[in-house]
Each structure stands twice: as structure tokens, then as C-alpha cells.
Point group: C2
């Protein structure tokens, strides 16, 4: 295994799920987290309350970015909001050998990261229903597979790195495939985030409940139509029926899940909405394309965010 | 006084405020309410927790529509949702002498009522910040004036009736004027309802807080632009600056108020959203005018309503 020293940068539900799976298989993983969470993880371990098992896993955690000096692999799982700050902080310590895999939402992170560090940064499209309960418990509701790929780069080293990443995850029981069209996969995930995250957040409602409302089904279609017009201008061609099928699949495979936006609002934390519907609104302005439905859900999440931030 | 027997049809905050003001001045008022509320009002009186005074007022209440057989004046203050059902139920008992004053939101009630009963039905545009707390306490936060008028009818008898209504209310300390352009006044009130009710409901946020969010200020402008296009097609011409001024005035005179939509959602009750943004969406479809911002807030309120209905 070429990835001896693994760091999980951002110990939210996604970081804890994938990082935890690696720790269970005895990989050397360090979680970089805020002091309170790092302390809880060190003191009491990571509680993985998963669909398939329930275990407390002994983990290493720290708030010290300087540790990354020996990193072979970094799983980037901070919120999109924090990508720029976080990478700026690790830039000087990250060794050139380190490979970065972004497990984040949105479609802007790879470019943001690549503008700051010169390490290879790969994209992982993540489908997992999970959330943090308290400081050290990750509750897993379902799924948990990865699609990985390289945006732009096509060198042989990238193929090798991605194959190693897949091998790493597959060996610990996480389904992981290389997606030849990773940009398209990212946008398909981004699409379902734009379709569901804000609405689930505004209503604190699960995906399964959302689609019971006929008005909301129609609203999601309108949000999606605006999204596809923008995607096409970004050279990502997704057909309407493909998009509707992607939306449907979320509503049926993650019935009881509420979005990360809903979780953030419930916890009084900043959401990623600027990187979700807010990003579509921003691109819409750039291209001169109206995006009124995205604009409206975006504005409402911003309002609720400003109300609940602690 | 020509209005000896007064009935308040629907003992919500609006009915209790204006009905209560009449009772305090010893008018013969009966509140028609659901059994639980009627019982509470009869047993313990109406608690009026007003800006200017705090009093428990002994009132008569009942759930029996047959009582309306001797009505001189009916204050119609049921939710717009219930107008059709309620008037159908009182149609056979309401004497022809009875005058009906609708104190309801929206712009559809007078027509709905006039299609069922042949009594004169007048419109009152109500600006009052109030809400019910429990079954018998009306909490008044501010304002409480009425603009009354006749839609369509222009007979001398209507002028007389409206003058009597104004006299009745003015004598009990409620500011009441005849509006020569009542349709326009109704649409101005309807405008601020469409601007604020849904958003306040979605976020459970007061008017003063809503306008602190720059994204929401912009959203309200977009909702308003769509509204004005529809209003113009309904022969109501309101300028953009006039509309923005009307919105501003609500945000500054009712800072701490949350909308009736917010109150309904919090109590797990049906909202009037079909008669607010939902009515704009419906008219937009009829006229072939897109109303995406109204559509989105409408859909979200419908979703939240379906989640909270008890």
C-alpha cells in the first residue's frame, strides 16, 4: 500500500464514515478536526453507528495542521466554505508526494484546491446518507460508495493514483470505482444536491417526505430545468430524463435522510448553500440566464442561516 | 345604531380583536367559533392583551350557525379557506336585512360570498398585528385600523351602510374609513401578504428580521414584480415604488409580528396560502404569465403545511 499516512481533513459525517472504515482495517489515519471534536474522538473513540455494524473505533485526532508533513493521502472533507482557508493553512507543510482526494459537495472545490497547492487533487463523488450526532458519533443511514476521477489531468501517474485509491477503499469494504467522466458525475451529484438540499433544509424534511408534496415535485423539476441550462453552458450535457431519474433515485434510496443543509441549519451552523443553489445563481448571472427558482430557495436558506447561526 | 345584533363569524385573532372592541363598548356581539373555542370564551371570557390595555371581556360565543337568524351585521373573519363552506351553512338562516363585512385576507372572498348569499357584502382591509394564544387570549401587538368599501355596488344604500359601519367602529375606538378605491386597497394589502406571509411562515421569522437578509429583500422585490404584472391584468395599477413603499411600511410598523401563515404552520393548521401566493400562481397560469418566485414560496409552504397538519 503506497498510502501509509492518511489524513482526514474535516471530521464531519463524510470524513468520519470513510476515515472510520479505513481505521477499522488498521490503516494509519489521523483526523484533523476542531479542538472540541478532536478531543472527543481521542478521549472516547469514534462511534460508528452504521447500517451494517455498530462499533466504537479508537482513532487519532488533532487540530494541528503541521502533522500533515508526512501525509501520503489526504481525504479532504471540510465544507466547501472552508476549502480555501484550510488548504492555505496546509500549503507549506504538505509534502509533494501527498495525494489529495476531495469528498466534498459542489463542483468548485478541485479548482479552488488546485489554485493553492500543486499536489494532485482528485475528485470523489460521494453518495452516503450519514450525519453526526454529538461530537463523536457518526450515524450511517445507508449507501457509502465512491466514484473517483481526475479533472483535467490525464497522465499515467493519475491512473495509478486512482487505482491505488480504489484498491485502498475496496479492501476495507467501501465500493469505489474510477469514473471516466468524473466531471459529469460531479454535476449529477451537484444536481441532486441542488434539487434536495435547500428544500430539505428549509422544511427540515427527509427526501422521502419531500417528494410526497406534488407542489414540491414540480418545484424540483423547475430547479432542475434551470440547473441543466447552466450545466450545458459549463459543457456538461445531462438530459432532462436522466436528471429526473437521478432525482428520483435519491428520493428512493435515501428516504429517511435529511440533507447536510438541514443538518447544518438544525445545528446553527453555516451551510454550503453558496456552493449549491447559490453557485447556480452565480453562474446564471455570469451567463445571463434567469434562475428564479434556484434564487428563491437560495435566499430562503440564507435567511434561515442568518437566523440560526450561533 | 342600526346594527343591534352583531355576529363575529370566525373567532381568530382578527375576529376577537374587532369583536372584542365592540363588546367592550357594550354592543350585542356573538362569536361563532369551533366548539372548543366557544366553550373557552363562554366559560372564561375573552382575554384582550392589547397594546393599550389588558382586559378580560365577558363574551357570548356559540358554534350554532342558526343563531344568525336575527343578525344585523356579520363580521366575516373565517379563513379564506372556509368562506365557501361557512356561507353555504348560514345561507338559509341569514336574514335579508343582514349586512356582511369581510375582514379577510386575499382578494377572492367578496366574490365567493356574493355568489352564495344575496346580502350586501362589503370589504374591510385590515391592518392589525395580533395572534391567538391558547383558546381565549388575543395578543395585540399593534395597529388595528380598517378601510371599508364596496366592490362593484354603488347604490346609495351602500354608502349609508358603510357610513354606519364606520360610525360603529369609530365610536368604539377603532379607526375606520371608507376607501373610494377599495379594490386597490385590497390589492395593496394582498401585495404585502404575498410579500411577507409565506417567507415569515417558512422561516418562522418576524417582518423586522426578514428584511435584515439582503437576499430576502431581493426575493421580495421579485415576488412583488410578478405580483404587479398580475395585478395590472386584473385592472389594478400599482407602481413599483408604491409597492416597495407598502412592503417597507409593513416591515417598519410590524417589526416583531410573524405572519398568520407562520402562526398557522406553528399551530399545525391549514394556511391561507392558496389565497395568497397560490392565487397569484393561479392567475399567472390563467394569463400565461410566469410567476416562478411566487410558485417557489407557495410550494414550500404547501410542503410545510402537509408536514405539520395535526
Amino acid at each position: 500500500m503506497i498510502y501509509k499516512k492518511i489524513y482526514v481533513l474535516g471530521a464531519g459525517a463524510v470524513g468520519c464514515f470513510f476515515g472510520g472504515m479505513l481505521v477499522r482495517a488498521h490503516h494509519d489515519v489521523t483526523f484533523i478536526a476542531r479542538p472540541k471534536r478532536a478531543e472527543a474522538l481521542n478521549d472516547s473513540g469514534l462511534e460508528m453507528d452504521c447500517k451494517a455494524f455498530h462499533e466504537i473505533v479508537k482513532v487519532k485526532a488533532s487540530s494541528d495542521f503541521a502533522l500533515l508533513g508526512d501525509a501520503d493521502l489526504v481525504l479532504l472533507s471540510v465544507k466547501s466554505l472552508d476549502t480555501e482557508d484550510t488548504l492555505t493553512q496546509i500549503k507549506s507543510v504538505l509534502p509533494s508526494k501527498a495525494v489529495v482526494l476531495s469528498l466534498q459537495n459542489g463542483v468548485a472545490n478541485i479548482e479552488i484546491a488546485s489554485n493553492i497547492i500543486s499536489n494532485p487533487v482528485y475528485a470523489a463523488v460521494v453518495y452516503v446518507a450519514a450525519g453526526m450526532v454529538g461530537q463523536r458519533t457518526m450515524k450511517h443511514h445507508g449507501r457509502g460508495e465512491l466514484l473517483v476521477g481526475s479533472l483535467g489531468r490525464t497522465a499515467a501517474i493519475d491512473d495509478k493514483n486512482l487505482q491505488e485509491i480504489c484498491k485502498l477503499f475496496e479492501e476495507v469494504g467501501v465500493q469505489c470505482s474510477i469514473a471516466p467522466q468524473i466531471k459529469r458525475e460531479m454535476w449529477l451529484k451537484f444536481l441532486v444536491n441542488c434539487s434536495f438540499n435547500a428544500i430539505s433544509g428549509i422544511g427540515q424534511i427527509s427526501y422521502g417526505e419531500i417528494v410526497k408534496s406534488s407542489e414540491i415535485v414540480k418545484l424540483i423539476q423547475e430547479v432542475t430545468k434551470e440547473f441543466l441550462a447552466i450545466a450545458a453552458l459549463e459543457d456538461v450535457n445531462i438530459s432532462m430524463s436522466e436528471a429526473f431519474a437521478a432525482n428520483d433515485s435519491i428520493a428512493t434510496t435515501m428516504v429517511t435522510q435529511v440533507s447536510s443543509t438541514a443538518q447544518d441549519l438544525a445545528k446553527g451552523k453555516l451551510t454550503e448553500i453558496d456552493f449549491l443553489n447559490g453557485y447556480i445563481v452565480q453562474l446564471g448571472k455570469r451567463y445571463g440566464i434567469p434562475t428564479p427558482h434556484n434564487e428563491t430557495v437560495y435566499a430562503l436558506v440564507k435567511m434561515m442561516e442568518s437566523q440560526t447561526i450561533k
